[in-house]
Symmetry: C4
Subunit: 239 residues, 4 copies
Amino acid sequence: MMTLDEARSQLTTANHILAREGVLDAFGHVSMRHPSNPARYLLARSRSPELIESSDILEFTLDSQPVAPVTGFLYGERVIHGCIYQARPDVHAICHHHSRAMMPFCISGIPLRPVDHLGATMGAVIPFWDQRDEFGDTNMIVARSEEGQSLARTLGPHWVVLMRRHGATVVGISMEEMVFRSVFSCRNAELQREAHALGGVTELTPAEIEKAGAFNLEPRPIARAWEYWTMRLRQARAA
Amino acid sequence: MMTLDEARSQLTTANHILAREGVLDAFGHVSMRHPSNPARYLLARSRSPELIESSDILEFTLDSQPVAPVTGFLYGERVIHGCIYQARPDVHAICHHHSRAMMPFCISGIPLRPVDHLGATMGAVIPFWDQRDEFGDTNMIVARSEEGQSLARTLGPHWVVLMRRHGATVVGISMEEMVFRSVFSCRNAELQREAHALGGVTELTPAEIEKAGAFNLEPRPIARAWEYWTMRLRQARAA
Amino acid sequence: MMTLDEARSQLTTANHILAREGVLDAFGHVSMRHPSNPARYLLARSRSPELIESSDILEFTLDSQPVAPVTGFLYGERVIHGCIYQARPDVHAICHHHSRAMMPFCISGIPLRPVDHLGATMGAVIPFWDQRDEFGDTNMIVARSEEGQSLARTLGPHWVVLMRRHGATVVGISMEEMVFRSVFSCRNAELQREAHALGGVTELTPAEIEKAGAFNLEPRPIARAWEYWTMRLRQARAA
Amino acid sequence: MMTLDEARSQLTTANHILAREGVLDAFGHVSMRHPSNPARYLLARSRSPELIESSDILEFTLDSQPVAPVTGFLYGERVIHGCIYQARPDVHAICHHHSRAMMPFCISGIPLRPVDHLGATMGAVIPFWDQRDEFGDTNMIVARSEEGQSLARTLGPHWVVLMRRHGATVVGISMEEMVFRSVFSCRNAELQREAHALGGVTELTPAEIEKAGAFNLEPRPIARAWEYWTMRLRQARAA
């Protein structure tokens, strides 16, 4: 089992990878379930993902309360993480983002679909959540428990949920899986948008989604991509 | 209250951030109201924003006349700044730009609309100014007081004004707010364009625009983004 | 004739060029026929192309079995290489990729066509292979000999084959030729997509494709581009 | 008057700027008229523009013959330069390129039009040349005098000529003017394409094109942009 220090380090790296690969920018956040206490999760204090250091990482209850007293700002939308960890014991890592790749789907309402073997890691169903349906006109920030629970209900047993005019939330059974899915779901979105403009899209069959998704979440592809992203990170930071 | 030296330094940083984040290129300019004399504003001599240093920053009356004698070129369009500071006592920072993100809206005349919670910081009304309406065929440069006043009238009490076939002008009650709005209005424009190509756009309701705009202009989001942009700047300059 | 060490070094450089120029990312792979034994080919162990070093390069039979015992992962799709080297004695270098440029054609099924003189190096016929036609629902990975042979049959005597919802495979009579074709076929794809969105595409005549393709595969253009790509690589790696 | 050494240095810088700003890549070339002998022009030996050094620059007659014996390759299309210098005594600098920005217009045949004040520097008429009209099926390379003369005739008294399925050629009365026009005509092309996709384009009136074009080719805007591009170049090369 991972130590807490190793967990903090992995979560820091995941923040940096997802920023470097264009999933996160000034906003968005990444969490992981505590490695030894499933009733806790780890999340940084309010800071842009690219800038996060291990020392920024705090521990929260699943009610999204900090375990130790905190000075300074916390992410306003941390209930997204707490509510999903409560609803989904199988989930160990979560990313909420507003990536440029995904946003056109969030804004247009055109369904995001798996269009290649790597996009198949999103799964066959990608639910769409509109905060307005249940909560009317808000500031569009998922800040209250009811809002986080509503989002978690819409996510259900799936892996990616789009949030209307806001962004996306991606989950995984491990950090490496979640990072892989986050990067390749953004890439799938870009490809689907460009294929759509070119003349239409043929999506994968349900059986292809299942088989290709399972294949790409095996250790070999995930390890290859993780090595690639950490190396790019190291090069960018050394420059 | 900020000293004049601090103001010069902040204005220099804002020029660099807006260049680094793709709002400004060889052209465009950023100003701020003088920190202790509201009848003056600060603006660099004619130079590309990325290259500006504190020593390039000059002081102007609201008639856009330099307070001290100047050698070398001044920005030809500085009346944009002077006329808006005259008309809008609440405004303390202004950016005029021709960003690639915004230009397709300036050229097509398709209305720019807030399509996500960050774009809500533009406000519900984004006026559109066509220099030709009042001044006929010109060189399209806003160089005369009448032109600057016309633009300020079209801006009215709003925060972003598009200029047909030319660019955009963005204002804020502080430098940080104006920079935030400039970056995220460009991003909103990109997202709206891509959502439009994908299949249409659902815009925010008026109440969502008001609530989400207000939320994102609070100290926490603005501080998070400002830290991110200044860090990126430092890294780019250290490389 | 090239030594084995020189071949390993050239193959490593080709991996890096194709990563640097946006053809390859975390996935995709490049091979070359063994310089002195045409019944063998060289391919790296399973690793992202940008990270490959000469010591990662292994030797395979045309049945895609490693000649020496191996520890660690191999590329799951190496039969693509073996089956094409078997079917095409004239081919000495192969790249399989999922480039962003090519994927919209793989997903939409819109035919890729030579639209400029550099794209003419793809040749007049660009076959389209759908794994599902012969093999039904799979994990979309070309892992079995029958699948590799089917792809090689569809490629036939041509130079680029698109793989539905998956990617592309590009071949050449030399490494330099194959790299040139890979880069400029991606560029052709981008240009065709953008011209299509702008208002349509006029493609080259068959005679233009033949003449322009032949001209651009002569030593002078290939040498100029190879010098350019290796220099860019050196600069990127020195930074 | 510029010395020959200064001319070589300026031409080298122009090559680097146009590569850095995305106008040139592995291919394309830039020339200038000899500073003291208008019957000669300067052009590099066959090499990618980003790599050119002063020592690569050679002298040619207006018949595109090297003045001194040469070893190694020359650009195959240098008649473009010679034929235009013959036909246009007012022209002192020329760039031939296949930029990604311009190519969609060359391929689709949709007319390129000035859509903003900076694009107005292209002038009101942008001719379109199709090598096939006069020469039938060729390798699409402008290698013979008749081809270069035909292109120069189509250019006529204008500043930018598009070449069907091939690229563009841009001319200027000085190097700085030509570089400015090359960069901003590419940018105009990008903006026109994106505005077109968004919902249509309103172009400038003839009088606006004339006035805005003249304004932007005055010393102040050209000097500002030139300082910006050379500074970016210095930073990129220092990194």
